[in-house]
Amino acid sequence: MSIDINMYSTNKQPTWCPGCGNFAIHVSLKKALMELNISPSQAFISFDIGCNGNGADTVNTYAFKGLHGRAIALATGAHIANRKYTVVADIGDGACFHEGIDHLINAIKSNYDMTILIHDNQNFALTTGQATVTTKQGKKMYALPEGKPERDIDINQLILSLQPTFFAKAYSGDPQQLTEIIKKGIEHKGCSVIQISQTCPTYNKECTPQWFNEHIIKLETLSQYNNSSLEDAQKLAKEMAQTGKIYTGIIHQHSNTPTFYDRLESRKDIQSELVDEVQEYDITQLLKYCN
């Protein structure tokens, strides 16, 4: 079957503001799937609630647009049920770092084989611009005329502290690099976290494309960066926190942590998927486990 990019789109038009980074993120996701030869019927996307998730109607794959903050948890269940599917959780910074931060932490810890795309526009956009943890301290936001009072959280350090098997940063203004990173994330066996700096001209006016261009450095320009070293990644994170620079590329990747499923004793040597196994079972042999 030949795959083309239009197959991944429905007849619906996106409803985002002009200049919104969500356009490029979803196009990059579609392109990555296409280039990896993953057909619309072979992918499952778990959409969150937010401007980002409003793109769900325009994407033609198996998908579930569930609840605010829960895209990762729902994706996990889908992944466990059928590992033949490429599973992507598509989520905003508000949902991922606020309402559902526990899911991010546990997904990284458990190392489910799926890809998490974080649309980081540094605000709760759909609810019209409240501060998130990635909003800079002091910035005036919805209901905060004096500016956001609390400290920023260093998300890079937070994620790295969990020893992720794949952590990348990308930018919606560089869809080519983003597509490549999403491809690498999908190909990676384990939990791939991709934090995407996303333009939001409506509620994050300061961070214009020009601002991003001034702050972003592609990792590939560093001559000797070893992304398999967690220490190097942590040094990089420290530098980002001190300078305000954003490195894009795969910050850290390693493959010697098994995935959640591969560690399951009960599923050892079983070729079928849980979805193939729904049938009546004789439970006589299991009576010994009673009480």
């Binding site: 033609n60 829960r70 269940g77 992944h79 979805v275 729904v278 486990y289 009480n291």
Partner: protein, 573 residues
Amino acid sequence: MYLNRIIVKFGGQSGQGINSVGTILTKSLNRAGYYTFSNREYPSLIKGGFANYQIDISNSSINSSSKKTNILCCMSKNSLNQYITDVLPNGVVIYDAQTLELEPQEQEYVKENNIKILNIDSKEVAKQNNAPAIMANAVLAGLVWKILKQKIEILTDEVEEMFKDKNIDMEAEKACLLAGYNTPLYVENLSQSIDTEKLKRTSEKKITMTGNDGVSLGALAGGMRAFFGYPMTPATSIFKFLGESANESKIVVKQAENEITAIQMAIGAMYMGTRAMTATSGGGFDLMSETISCSGISETPLVIVLAQRIGAGTGVPTWTGSGDITAAVKTAHGDFPRCVIQISDAKSAFTLTQKAFNIADKYQLPVIILTEKQIAEGLFSIDSLPPIEKIERGLQQGENRYQITESGISPRWIPSQDEKPYLHTSDEHNEDGHSTENAQEVYEMSKKRDKKMNLLKDEIAEPEYFGSPKAKTVLVGSGNTKNPILDIITNNLSSEDIAYLHYEYIYPTKTEKLTKLAQEGKRIILVENNQTGQLGKLITEESGYQFNEKLLKYDGRPFFIEDILNYLEGKSI
């Protein structure tokens, strides 16, 4: 014989091994061919507090506990003081110490009722048999076995089987059982009133299982392949059963980071087309409510076990009740269809859990299975499990996932690389699954979902009527209320002819049978293990029928047989 049963009660503190001695005796009695119902009461702490384990023994199937006891075996002074006046005339009190001091009124009670007292220092006996103090319980088990006049081989065989894969010194364990059984302290007249001969047993061995075992087995029989859990009494032992048997059942068992995750994982797995489940108690269930609403609007099948304990908030965590019926039926925002089923014992747990999956799949909605502490952790004895239900999924190909149909059920197919992909969404949507704010579309899709309730209501059974059609008094209840009432009916324990109407399907709520009985002029009594008569309120809401008479109990204890009998005789319970 008192209530056609013999009752043995162990009392002591949490951490004294009461549970293990109770289970050993229960299983041995079932091995011997007796029916039993065993119930464990324990505090929500690890060491200390009150704990007891009661075994009711009979020659016919029983599923409830009585308040009184024939043999009381106490491992602590507290429990002796607590339960001694529950000992039946001519009964036996075993006190696990060298000496016994009774309060004056207790002495009086003992004398008046001809209660026999036996002191045994089981730890000392264990020591004499070169066994660790922890095996002192086996001495007590042996002694009680002797008083029950049972063959020692049955007890030792059962213990051997129970512990065969455990790291336990079987020789020492057996020595303790024998030492208790053959203790010189035993005298024939201890067994005088404990007339096991009258309880003619069948020769067949019974299967011993809890309600939670029944739920677990039902889920596995019905093709559940993933379980997502988070510990909360009294749901936790479902997690235990499924986890411990996973290497054999080959399912995935995952302890999620919290209840929200557990149910989200379940809904994700159900979307993909497997069968998955989660189980929790009230607090965890509240956390799950948003996802239940999401399941309703997105028409994603979902099965949740809500194992009830008594009280709001943290309540009384290890005690029983059925105060979450309203929560199961009404929780979560928006109008959406759902089904609520309530189990009452191990057998119904097995069957109804399978039915829950069929309903969830066919009607594409959340199904909540209600159980309660008394059923979840109570040990039932059964001859065999009911036959396995045929799996029904109602899968069907179609053009649009949310197609508006006459029945309200839209085509749903399992995601497959050969099929057309579709979007499930918690946004209101049109037929192809895209969000909509169009008034007509919002109205029509909501209406379509609601239609499923009519169909479901047609499919589910009316409440079941037990007892003679001529009975003038009909008790109405659900869940564990069935057990003491049916034990009364089948053993003819009530002087009055009574019948019982039992609700398994709580929602949608069928009321025809009940209103007909009321019209016939029967005396109708609502019996519920909660404060406000929650099932009754649903019935009233559905039919307009008002219950004039209600027997409600909400102190964390189940209905004992005596509660029901006393009520019927006009005494306070």
